[in-house]
Amino acid sequence: MGWPAGVPNAAAALGWHKKMTPLFIAQIGLTLFVFVMLLSSAAGMVYVERKVAAFLQQRLGPYLVGPKGLLQPLADVIKLMFKEELRPRAADAFLFALAPVISATCAFAAFAVVPFGGDTTLLGLIPEGLRLQVADVNVAILVVFAIASMSVYGIVLAGWSSNSKYSLLGGLRSSAQMISYELSYGLALASVLLVGNSLSLTDIVNRQAGAWLGFIPRWFVFVQPIGFLIYMTAGIAETNRAPFDFPEAEQELVAGYHTEYSSMSFAMFFLAEYVNMVTVSAVATDLFLGGWQGPFLSESFGWVWFLLKVAAILFFYVWMRWTLPRYRYDQLMRFGWKILLPLAVINLLVTAAGVLYFGA
Amino acid sequence: MVPLSHYLLLSAMLFSIGTAGVFVRRNLITILLSIEIMLNAVNLTFVAFGRALGSADGQIIVFFVMTVAAAEAAVGLAIIISLFRHRESLNPESWVSLKW
């Protein structure tokens, strides 16, 4: 295996020699890599959001800190770290500290089952292919949905444990919105499952290989256009973003459920929101836009295609936020229950009929 | 692989904890929570036996038990809310006026 001289003796003494294959080490490295990448993507999103918002509003945005303002996220993080950590006296200390942890943990954990590349051998360093996915579960879609439904608790607990009217109302409204849109989210996922015929994200991406007529790729967005729209809408509502962010908007209920938070706890909520956006975009890419498939080089550099597609969806997210006006809360709930949910059910029925008739 | 009896013992312990909760606690919501513990213990038994007998029927019954538990929790909580509106209390002792 090519290990240096003294290592095999020490490892054999501990019984590790059977497990420490290069593949195992590569998998541990992959886990750390994904974690670091998610953190950096959240930091990058901060910059992208402010720059894109600025250009949409015909101004310049951050340009002082670093070249073209690229070090702005670093400045933001340092500012947040140095702020004083406050806690209201009447707040429930344990739950107050636990809530941002739950939000951040669920946001990161959901990405664990999302594949972002085909089998790669890292340019020949490891003998067999390493799938670019932290955990290959064959019920991957359901796991993403399950972890997304657990992130409601971070918000509910934040609202309640702050022991303040604004936080409680904001928290309850926000979580009611999330669980309402989870239904449409799940039904959109179910429609894709019917077409993709599998619960494993890797299988679904692999089925989107190839092209019709030579140039239209076999992405599911062409088979399920309405499903894609429903998924994106529900995803935006799930992450409390863009036109659906009434419960945490600055002009409304002070700041909703994170009114009483400051410094690193607030940073964790912030981080959780951006990482959730990245996860929703990544799952959308895998399900509807063909994942890491591309017209060329998709075997070893598929992750580049994946990155480009996720970046496109994230840009769409930011664009939505600064273009559309906000829905009022009752309009938002009405939209979720009376318009989006029936549409998702009809989409599912039509998809089922289509699959039955066309057989694919 | 842990033998089946261990799973059954665990399920029995959880069921007894749930039963104890229903008898002991004087808070309607905690009583409902204890009922949920009991239902989960039963689910565990079903899945363990399904696995031991090699059929998927255990998991299907668990599916139905979960659905019924959801319906029952929703209606039970609605009843608790309307009871609370009358007496402002969650203690079952508040509704003993028919006791002689």
């Binding site: 429930d92 579960v137 019920v139 359901l142 796991v143 439904s149 657990m150 409601v152 509910v156 607990l157 979580s175 | 033998p3 089946l4 261990h6 013992l9 665990l10 029995a12 959880l14 904890i17 749930g18 104890a20 002991v24 606690r25 004087r26 808070n27 919501i29 905690t30 409902l32 929570l33 204890s34 513990i37 989960n40 689910n43 565990l44 899945v47 363990a48 399904g50 696995r51 031991a52 998927a56 255990g58 998991q59 299907i60 599916f63 139905f64 979960m66 538990a69 319906a71 929790a73 929703a74 209606v75 909580l77 609605a78 608790i80 809310i81 309307s82 609370f84 509106r85 969650l90 203690n91």
Partner: protein
């Protein structure tokens, strides 16, 4: 230590704390922890679908409902003077019942573990595929499936009606 003992310890410990907590919010959160441990046990039993459904339905939906009700009612503790001083599990009634139950359980446990023998270890098997469950659900169990959907509809209507605020006349 196999994961079974870890998950079993978490499940039993969390359930015990559920019935011992005064604050209903902590009870709900501990029950969620117990459900998580049970979900892990389902994975060990080669039932990944049930494990994920447990998280989605029980921990992710039913418990959110409980939490909402606890927060909206601002659920008071069991609030008499006596209740504040003495912990719920230590009062004379529950203590006698609980002690009896615990003693009975300990005897049963000791007897059951002592029997050994027909411990029924699991046959080798594979992970139950979701396709198999789905096929069985929609063919053999199609009638209960449809009845369950009507049951949920009835429960929804009932819950909305029961919890509705009375209009002042």
């Amino acid at each position: 230590m196999t994961p079974f003992y870890l998950f079993a310890a978490i499940a039993v410990g969390a359930s015990l704390l559920v019935i011992a907590q005064r604050n209903p919010v902590y009870s709900v959160l501990l029950l969620i922890a117990s459900f998580g441990a049970l979900s892990g046990l389902y994975v060990l039993l080669d039932a990944p679908f049930v494990a994920v459904i447990q998280i989605i339905v029980y921990a992710g939906a039913i418990m959110v409902l409980f939490l909402f009700v606890v927060m909206l009612l601002n659920a008071p503790h069991e609030d008499t003077e006596y209740d504040e001083r003495v912990h719920p599990l230590l009062r004379p009634g529950p203590m006698r019942f609980g002690a009896g139950l615990a003693a009975a359980l300990a005897v049963e446990l000791w007897w059951a573990l002592g029997r050994g023998g027909e411990s029924g270890s699991f046959a080798g098997g594979s992970v139950t595929s979701v396709a198999a469950i789905g096929r069985s659900l929609f063919t053999d169990y199609a009638f209960p499936f449809e009845v369950t959907s009507i049951l949920i509809l009835v429960a929804m209507v009932g819950a909305v009606l029961l919890a509705r605020r009375e209009e002042p006349r």
